[in-house]
Amino acid sequence: MTKKTTNLKLTSYNAVTDSGSLVYNYINDVSGSATGENLLLIDTFAGQANSSLVNLSASIVTINNKLIFAPATVVTTGMSTSAIISPSGLSQSDYGKRSVSITLNTSASLLGGEMGFFRVPSSLNGWILQSAAVSCAGSSTSGNPTFSVFKYANNVNPYLESTGTKMSASITVAAMAFESSASEIVSTASSIFTENKVRVKCVVSGSSVRYATATLVFQKKP
């Protein structure tokens, strides 16, 4: 009595129990050309296995091609639904920035000398001041309000300019304007460290300037 193999269901003969089988039947089962013969079953399996391997290989290539790291610009725009984010892509995108706003006055006009401070937390250790800008709600009717940005090392008096380091060129809001340009800061002194104090100070008041606010943008060094 012939048996079928487990996987391909090939017909197998036992030399003892199937010794009475005809050679005709044996040849037919082993290498016949009708559906169900061993060779056809092997051939069908070969075709399926080959197709599976081709598809599997193509899938790996597809996956590999999908491992595309988004550059910082794409992370910023958020326009890709397939690229993946690396630490570098995140840190150099807009999502890697931290803004700090320091209000210097409210409804009373600037007199000059107004200050605001920002203590650098540990999470911004080693970051750089990337841009600084000042806006106001009441623009100057005379003169150009001007502001300075200084940083101070740990636990030194942050009032004194002699103990601080100037972080950028002065920021100026032109007369009759409501905001300065958000200039890029390119300075070796732009790095900040934990517990540093950053001070924004009005050095030229202009006239009738109200609600002056400095916005400092920090980012991890590339």
Binding site: N50, L67, L90, E195, K197
Partner: protein
């Protein structure tokens, strides 16, 4: 004699094709040792399959090796351009933290009792207070300015002391003559019980000891998503 579709194996039909085929020819076609017999073809095919599987396996290993998750340190430093940020590494990195700086006075010295209020937005619902610090630009000439942080439930009708839960078991102190609480001998301790904030909570930051001549005092609060 017929032929299979894929491997082109030699097939024998008992309905006529087998007629005239000697057993010698049959055996030779099925299992002969030349390049065209069935066993040779099957063996060759199996070699190809093994080669393909080996190639795919190599590709899969290479692919697996290219999927490297960024550590918290890498995510914080931004130093890696070929590792993948996970939600976990993002949360624990500096980018997973939110910082709130609360100012209590400016050029007028603290007199004690100055407060400022922060309301917890939806985006910080369930987050935890992780770190606090205080800073002043004009240091105290007498006494150590001290600050507390109290949490009030959402929807309370007033910020009465009876609703307040202290988020610190040790207050924030800037020692006399210093500018930063991180230089104080006694450091603030965040309450395990009340460190979690929910949407609508009000946090009241309050100066309870003014010191003398303390200007530009502010308190920094750092929040992180709870695990």
């Amino acid at each position: 004699m017929g032929q299979t579709n894929y491997l082109k194996l030699k097939a024998f039909s008992t309905s006529g094709c087998i007629t005239g085929i000697t057993f010698y020819q049959y055996v030779n076609a099925v299992s002969g040792s030349d390049t065209g017999d069935n066993l040779f073809i099957i063996d060759k095919w199996s070699g190809n399959v093994s080669g393909s599987i080996s190639g795919i396996s190599t590709s899969a290993v290479r692919l697996s090796g290219s999927i490297v998750y960024a550590t918290v340190e890498q995510t914080s430093s931004g130093s890696s351009s070929n590792t993948i940020i996970t939600p976990s590494s993002f949360r624990d990195s500096i980018y997973g933290k939110n910082i709130c700086i609360v100012q209590l006075n400016s050029s007028s010295s603290l007199i004690g009792g100055e407060i400022n209020i922060v309301e917890i937005p939806t985006s910080l619902n369930g987050w935890e207070l992780e770190e606090v610090n205080a800073f002043c630009a004009g240091s105290s000439t007498n006494g150590s300015p001290t600050f507390i942080i109290e949490k009030f439930p959402a929807g309370v009708s007033s910020l009465s002391d009876s609703y307040a839960n202290s988020m610190l078991t040790n207050s924030i102190i800037i020692e006399q003559g210093k500018y930063d609480s991180s230089f104080s001998s006694e450091q603030p301790i965040i309450s395990e019980r009340y460190k979690t904030v929910t949407q609508g909570n009000k946090l009241r930051i309050k100066n309870i000891i003014s010191g003398a001549s303390v200007t530009y005092a502010s308190v920094s609060l750092v929040f992180i998503k709870a695990t």
